[in-house]
Subunit: 439 residues, 2 copies
């Protein structure tokens, strides 16, 4: 019996993280980690859950965009959608009127992600599998049929994509076993947000080392002296063999990025993340070229809004680490395209996570990448931030600094009903309290 989608609801759910400077960086100084949270329902009572991540104000705009897209979803059956997922992706991303306000970027792309994430969740639930397993078990031809190749055929053809997936069938089962046993390597960003004191930094870093973490990211970019002190402190604490990454969250111009990072080179960062504007492909290429002799790579992607941008970052040799995001681009469909292009260009994928639900979501994609595409863990790791997982029905499981593969069917982003109620903005209990205290 086909499952016809008869209902789509979307809610604005915000967590007041700015009160404690969690998540603070050089450009987002007071984020309230938030989601536009989507629930779809079929005529047979099955549900799919999806979300996109935001940082507070503006979430209502994404909610409005999801509502606009819902007309394209309601009335369709899941079978109809997944039998031509490429077509459905294009229906959403290329609506003859709505594409004008994108296309495939910003608010409308974030909304597309939320909606499509809920559809992938529904699909995986109906198949009784966690999303990563749904993908891993899917025949290459079917996987390819989910990708819109428009605008990327000069970098990756359908045939090349198919060949990559066919080739990676070798050793797949062993990699599934390995992942189930060991999990996927992670790094932590929880220690060194910009708003944290040195004392808190030290304490968090110490705790992380005890828990087995070996890869640490530090936020930089607001003040050079401050960055030198913080990088020095972290490098001292973690020793010469663990990894240190630095993240400027787009703070610099191109020349400034090169000068600034050169001054932090002695702390041996593996990468500088988001040194400048996320749209600046040629700028990242120039920074990459200048920092290569120092052994520092360039990483970006959490605000890279579509496959065409990633295509160019790869073509230009502008990034040495590709940071996919589960909510910035058009869901699994577009991420599949990027994983395949990254493989072709031989650039490791190290996903962006954190926020609300990004860890829960993106772990599925990186497990698929290892098992079915890259077959490699070299220079690869997935971001982890230890925040807000308690609001999810199937939160991530970290063991010895590794993501353990999710076992529950779906895409892991169903939130607890009580959390959604309390943190709804502005009418949830938590926000009513905050308002009361402010008044």
């Amino acid at each position: 019996m086909p499952q016809k989608i008869v209902k789509l609801t979307v809610q604005d759910v915000r967590f007041p993280t700015s009160l404690e400077l969690h998540g603070s960086d050089a450009m987002h100084t007071d984020p309230d980690y938030s989601v536009a949270y989507v629930v779809i329902e079929t005529d047979q009572g099955m549900r799919g859950y999806g979300l996109t991540f935001t940082v507070g104000r503006g979430t209502e705009i994404v909610v409005c965009a999801v509502e606009a897209l819902s007309a394209l979803v309601i009335g369709k059956s899941l079978e109809e959608i997944v039998s031509d997922f490429r077509g459905f992706y294009r229906l959403l991303s290329s609506d003859g009127q709505m594409r004008w306000i994108g296309p495939e970027k910003g608010v409308i792309q974030l909304a597309t992600a939320a909606v499509l994430n809920s559809i992938w969740d529904l699909w995986a639930r109906l198949e009784g599998k966690p999303l990563w397993k749904l993908l891993v078990d899917m025949e290459p031809k079917k996987l390819i049929s989910c990708i819109d190749f428009r605008y990327i055929t000069d970098a990756l053809t359908e045939q090349e994509a198919l060949d990559i997936l066919e080739k990676a069938k070798e050793g797949k089962l062993q990699r599934v076993d390995q992942m189930l046993k060991e999990g996927y390597p992670a790094y932590t960003t929880s220690c060194a947000w910009l708003g944290y004191s040195d004392q808190l930094l030290r304490q968090l870093c110490n705790d992380a080392l005890k828990d087995g973490w070996t890869k640490f990211k530090v936020k930089v970019g607001a003040d050079l002296e401050d960055d030198i002190r913080r990088c020095s402190l972290i490098r001292q604490m973690i020793g010469p063999h663990n990894s240190l990454m630095i993240d400027a969250n787009q703070r610099w111009d191109v020349g400034e990025a090169i000068t600034w990072v050169t001054k932090l080179a002695e702390y041996k960062p593996l990468w500088i993340e988001e040194p400048t504007c996320p749209d600046d492909i040629l700028g990242h290429a120039a920074i990459s070229k200048a920092l290569a002799p120092l052994g520092i790579g360039v990483a970006s992607g959490e605000q890279c809004h579509n496959r065409v941008m990633f295509k160019q970052f790869l073509q230009a040799g502008a990034l040495q680490f590709i940071q996919i995001d589960s909510c910035r681009m058009g869901s699994v469909n577009e991420n599949l395209a990027v994983l395949l292009m990254a493989h072709k260009f031989n650039v490791p994928v190290c996903p962006h996570a954190g926020g609300v639900g990004l860890c829960e979501l993106v772990q599925h994609l990186i497990l698929f990448d290892y098992i079915s595409v890259s077959a490699s863990l070299d220079n690869r790791m997935c971001e982890f931030v230890d925040h807000l997982h308690e609001h999810f029905i199937s939160p991530v499981e970290i063991k010895n600094a590794h993501y353990m593969p999710p076992k529950d069917p779906g895409y892991s982003c169903e939130m607890k009903e009580a959390s959604v109620q309390s943190y709804q903005y502005p009418q949830g209990e938590v926000w009513k309290q905050i308002k009361k205290q402010k008044d």
Copy 2:
């Protein structure tokens, strides 16, 4: 007395253009030309009018974004804003929470344009000048202070921008006189929308020739045989010495664009516009390189979302014609940056217009470009589409295929109150009638 902004209203105004296929192209097959229409009001009863252009569905999302931005505007005085316009621009574009859903792209950038357009309009009205004259009369240092140079200093420094403006002071008065007498050269897109029949094409083209038009744009990209027939028809009618431009509205992949346009080369198009994804800088560079031997340039910009993208298009030699838009980017502020960069890279600016109000707005920018920046008309012209001007208080004036400089104070985008009322979506009379007919 300072003018404090005390009120901002925004309305969703849509024109049912899809009923007659006006504006139809290869990607936007059924546009309802629309605006998010902003009115700001000061405590002294002065008003500023601004808008951003959209094509129907999704306008409500832009309206929602304008409402979110209004909190950053209300309570500020115009004097406060323009005394540090760069700072105010950054306040809007880099709000620590809202920038996540952009940054500087898509819905939030369109909303920023609408809001800032209304502020520029207010400023020009208070100075009692049409906007182009306000800009032309402004000292270079003051002009520069309106531009956010973040992320573009590797292509254009403040000093270089200042030097360009200082140098162009020579001959400025003559150019003002020349413009007042002759106007700025325009080309027409009104003849050859994709949805029009050959008969209508012929008739419109004939009428345009009689009215003195010498430059014609044809929509292409949906069907090659059809394009050959239409281009042949138009080239025959306009003769070998008039200009023909073709516009694919992003229909092709890179390789496809090269093959397709090569087949239209015999009709001697001056440029191919939007051959592929508007984000694909390297793709446009490849197409430019391939088409250069055929004497065909590449044009794009109406969906180029910010100065960082234009910077790269220029750095990569990807465009031979820069098509600024008055609503896609961050209003006059960001367009100033692009005009100056285009001048430095020696690429002519040929603005995108049409839609609703785009002609009214962008004529001011291109007049300023000629008078105060480029001092050249070589290979330069401004798009004109003869639609919907009747809804404006100060509509464009075209004489002998030239834009005549506006004389009324402001930025020319105040709409007639009756039009706003009738076309409001969904509650306006026009839409109520359409709904009734459909039901």
